[in-house]
Symmetry: C2
Subunit: 327 residues, 2 copies
């Protein structure tokens, strides 16, 4: 900046005035300064600016399990859209479902003085956030609640959705329904399992633990589980996939099966409608999830001090065929 000032024959303050469009600058001077800026390729340092002004940095942090997962990337996109509309930029990070990594990312973002943080939490301990939140960094939890603190949270109706899935299958005559979920340490997985039990109860189906399997989904593990649950005299006639990745693994495991069991997935996914049969899913609006969370965050950024809110977004069952197969 001082280089620009020297070249234009003015003080650095005047350069500052020009780059900030302040009024009290003579047009001729402004033009000289602009020319110097152009010539030197000067670009003002936003870090220094934010430091001096004590203003916000114009960034927010988003932490998800994996930015490469289509579910989270759709979330990312929705968040980015809102952030852009508020003139903010987004720092992203993948926690890899690892709470230490999550913590690291959050604290790093705080050190960068992001204006707020959106997080799909990996762990159950969020005490480390208390000082940061007290220091004025708003945090909104997405898709899963905070472990041990009270904070803004946006969730989907995992319980209701899974109950609906069970009811749908029961309506089509199924009494032996398998449930394949992600690790029960994950809130959504546990909640959907709870919905599964509740759905069984409501539909007069006796809950059979041997038809349930909860683990981090890999193709191998899901393949084994499908083989085990879908065969034998007591085989399940239908399966509920606890999330999009489980669903894909189940579909792949069943790709060459002669008799495909009925199936309902939780989470919609691209091409579900083009498979044979098309996959019935409990769908929810991932964009709406990101929207709601980002809107809530920016309300906080702009000073909303009301008590922490908990938003639960609705889900709806999309019947496409795979869930309407008879036992």
């Amino acid at each position: 900046m001082s280089d620009v000032a020297r070249l234009a024959g003015v003080s650095i303050k005047t350069v500052s005035r020009v780059v900030n469009d302040e009024p009290a600058v003579h047009p001729d001077t402004a033009e000289r300064v602009m020319a110097a800026i152009e010539q030197l390729g000067f670009r003002r340092n936003l870090g220094a600016r934010n430091l001096r002004r004590g203003s916000t940095t114009g960034t927010i942090g988003l932490i998800v399990e994996d930015v490469g997962n289509p579910f989270y990337s759709e979330l990312n996109r929705a968040v980015e859209r809102i952030a852009t509309s508020f003139g903010r930029q987004v720092l992203t990070g993948s926690s890899e479902e690892n709470s230490d990594r999550e913590r690291e990312l959050v604290l790093e973002f705080c050190a960068r003085r992001v204006d707020g943080i959106l997080v799909v939490p990996a762990g159950l301990q969020h005490g480390y956030l208390v000082p940061e939140m007290r220091a004025g960094t708003p945090v909104v939890f997405i898709d899963r609640p905070a472990g041990d603190i009270v904070a803004d949270t946006v969730l989907v109706d995992n319980l209701g959705g899974t109950i609906e899935a069970v009811t749908h299958l029961a309506k089509h005559g199924h009494r032996r329904i398998a449930f394949l979920g992600d690790s029960p340490d994950i809130f959504t997985a546990a909640e959907r399992l709870r919905g599964f039990r509740e759905g069984c109860v409501r539909n007069g189906i006796s809950y059979d633990e041997s038809l349930v399997s909860m683990r981090t989904p890999t193709q191998e593990y899901i393949g084994d589980a499908v083989k085990r649950l879908m065969h034998g005299p007591d085989a399940a006639t239908a399966v509920i996939a606890g999330n999009n990745r489980v669903a894909v693994h189940v579909l792949r495991a069943l790709a060459h099966a002669e008799q495909r069991p009925a199936m309902v997935g939780f989470d919609d996914f691209e091409l579900a409608d083009l498979l044979d049969p098309p996959v019935t899913v409990v769908a929810h609006d991932v964009s709406a999830l990101g929207h709601a969370a980002a809107e809530l965050l920016f309300a906080r950024v702009q000073g909303d001090q009301s008590p922490p809110r908990k938003v639960v977004l609705p889900v709806h069952l999309v019947a496409r065929g795979s869930g309407e197969v008879a036992p």
Copy 2:
């Protein structure tokens, strides 16, 4: 920091020493400082630190068309992985295929003093980058080259891949092949079209412009194109989809067709193997693309001054069934 210093009864310099793990601090003093830091919830301001040290900011910028598109989110993930291994964080932005937006994002990132920029360019004019690059911000172009400047670039073999696709279909007896691509303003789309023509030539197929359609893919437009090209006496017997989105639209348009033409897609996509018939694609390793670009960027960040490089990654045809259908 001065609050911490006051509480611990030391100077701020000593606090600085403690937070930086500098050796010459008495353990007792360090402990007092740590306690004060804990008590006050102090976290050092990375912005100020970077300003003072004149060091890098520890961030890189990534600009893609749409972070929500699975293709780009996989890229994002690969980039993040490398960035993390270099201790950097990633600022992301979606250009929405709009060159003004791209420019805005790039300049904003530069103002934030990112250590480097990875960009899937939207436009063809990148002169605006020259001053930034001269000022020391390395830029690597991904998936498409820069319009009018020389810069590091990582591409995939669009030309070869499309030639391979045509040859594959020709081998299976097809002589009338349709090509549906994205807008020809996009480098990859134009390049693949070029590959299509070249493929026709090499296989002794007369290139028929009426079988080609290049436009931003929407379900409606692709549906119309499919209807037009696949019917009538001179109908195409096979179709090449120019990218993953075109492929999905084509599949949807053909979902209820009685006679499905042969099809090959450019870009692999999830579940392609589970459709009926499974979709033959020209696949390339998106992670490798991100990896290569990020590695190249960090080499520049660390001072590599060698002439701009152009890396072209190989593609390979994955025959799954849809491309092996007879005419």
